[in-house]
Symmetry: none
Subunit: 217 residues, 4 copies
């Protein structure tokens, strides 16, 4: 099995991440995308709470009414962005997991898709870390929780497959996700906050190997 490194994608409209283009396609959604892009930048620069609606407006040349017409509230805007990011991240994982067969390939798929996505979408990744906490306290908490449950079931399903199950240490199941993804996540956070220099994807094979050594029988 081969893994291609994903490079940071180019964006046709200046400043608007490709991911948003994918989520809200078409010319008519242009302004909507510009608002999302502006919001993403502001949230990352100042944090979600400190970002004011006006900051987002100034950066996107939109009007208040328009923002509220499309997203209903600041919280709605944050949620839209969050679900967008989660969707994109999930798509990548699903693709990689579909190509994995052995347990070790599965572990690699998780680690690779994680670090590749963070490296390709640093802005969205940075936002994700803030937004999850914020959204779980707001009115979109239920929607988020439901989504998380669905994803967890899907991934857990792959790993629980009887044919591969014997390859792991007989350790508590609830420990497994942390053992596989913990190191990659920790390094990704460090990279996003500038504490380390090399992008996570550069260390993908080491991170995957380390994860595998941790869980392999």
């Amino acid at each position: 099995m081969k893994h291609k490194e994903i490079s940071s994608e180019q964006t046709p409209s200046a400043g608007v991440p490709m991911v948003l283009e994918r989520a809200y396609p078409g010319v008519r959604a242009q302004l909507k995308r510009r608002i999302l892009g502006s919001a993403l930048a502001c949230f990352n620069e100042h944090g979600i709470e400190p970002t004011t609606i006006e900051m987002i407006l100034a950066r996107s040349d939109a009007s208040v009414g328009n923002l509220y017409h499309h997203f209903g509230s600041k919280e709605g805007l944050v949620a839209a962005l969050l679900f967008c990011a989660l969707e994109d991240q999930a798509t990548l994982l699903d693709t990689e997991l579909a190509n994995a067969h052995s347990m070790q390939e599965g572990v690699s798929a998780l680690v690779y898709s994680y670090v590749d996505w963070v490296t390709a979408q640093p802005e969205l990744a940075r936002f994700l870390f803030q937004a999850r906490a914020a959204v779980s306290k707001g009115p979109y908490a239920a929607e988020l929780q439901q989504r998380n449950k669905l994803r967890a079931k899907l991934v857990m399903g792959w790993f629980a497959e009887p044919a591969r199950a014997g390859a792991l240490k007989p350790w508590p199941f609830e420990l497994l996700p942390s053992l596989i993804i913990g190191q990659a996540e920790n390094y990704s956070r460090a990279w996003l906050s500038g504490r380390v220099k090399a992008p996570p994807a550069q260390y993908r094979s080491m991170l995957a190997e380390a994860a595998w050594l941790s869980v392999a029988l």
Copy 2:
């Protein structure tokens, strides 16, 4: 080398963590401690930004003037709490590291002290995760950064000791901290947010073993 599990500590004054008692001892600082305890609870319940001064006041039966007399500002209060927590966490690590001799014992010391502290001080741990981001943007950012640097140097010093250095895989140095602490941190976050049930300290030996397998030559 032996490691004793640390149990959640009892608090003499209702609701005020022992850690605060240690940091601000004496009868005269009673109100100060009560404010800190109240703030901690509020920050964890609603988040730092959404917590208002009034919420903290209501829970601690203090007056506005009093709070400002002791902490100068809301940011000062957050910083005081943060440094308190960091201090406590550092003390525990220093103790454990002092008893460690081999490289493997050092890795265990890091993992053990981390999960033990989180398990013993879940409230402070939860707060720590929020506060670091908040403080790095405020007026206490420099103080925090300086402190971090100091701690990093201290710990890195231990691991760079020539006598033990050969025991590790020849991987990039900036990857090491993530490999050692990433899994424990990830599981701790999961526990604090209720996604898993067993307290981190219960899995300390497995987490230490996994970390060691990841980095050992």
Copy 3:
């Protein structure tokens, strides 16, 4: 002279008072009537100011543009409804007054037509009480005032008729309208707000008698 009780009228189009049908007849004005009906309901449920254009739209399945095409502004809509109600009320009074000959019959005509109309059109009546105050402050104030003056002159004319004038107490003229209509109005308000149960028309003869006793020589 005989007075027939007026029963609450049936409406052909669901929910749209007959009065509006009369004021804006024809199939082409259907949507216009639906908007008026919706507005009337909203104004009575929430008050005029608190009612938003969107509320009216939602209830009438019309579009913003359409509403503004027909009524020009929110105030225009309120005014249209108000003049509609005043017109209807006036028509009834004119009819009854035309059949009255003695002074006592005139007093009865006033009281009867008032309570009968309120009982037959409770929705419009409720609206009337709000709308008069609102419109007197807006751009249709002049139109309303002029209309009021015209009506007052007309009615006053009937009562000033020399042949009947001697039947009244020699009290100040400006007191007369209040003495005749005050009790009926007060009871009507009480009924519309639910404070009393019996519809005003049920007590029409007593109210007319009370009014007559108050003013008769």
Copy 4:
């Protein structure tokens, strides 16, 4: 029994009605009273809804925070003013009713105290007519309703006294209040809106006589 006419009261602090002075006495409540006075004036000039917090602030030289410190919300301010007015009106009626013995004197007490109060407190009276409708839809509706019930019971008690009950026409009880007060109320509204010139108190004896003729056996 004698009835003294009540003249419009002088106010020590410029522009603040005596009634407010009575309701919130003391030097420390000075600013609170100034806010209430300013709000009263604004509400009467522009209506309750159209009045903005800023208008009230500008007229009273208070700060936003202060207004919200004392009244919690715009609705709270309206309610405070309303209850103040109702209290004052009630006090006057209670006094007059205490001096009345025969049924006719009771009717006079009602009419006199009503017109005297409106004449003495035209500002509060004008406000009363708006505020009742506004408050019955807001969060203070329950408090208002309870108050109304209490007052109604008290007054009804006086009129239901067996010794006097025989003096009235055997008409429905729910009609009685309207018959007694309806004319006075209608004339008061007319005066407050400028449609008639003479203050209600000037016609007090006629209004009382008219009411008595309406209900007397």
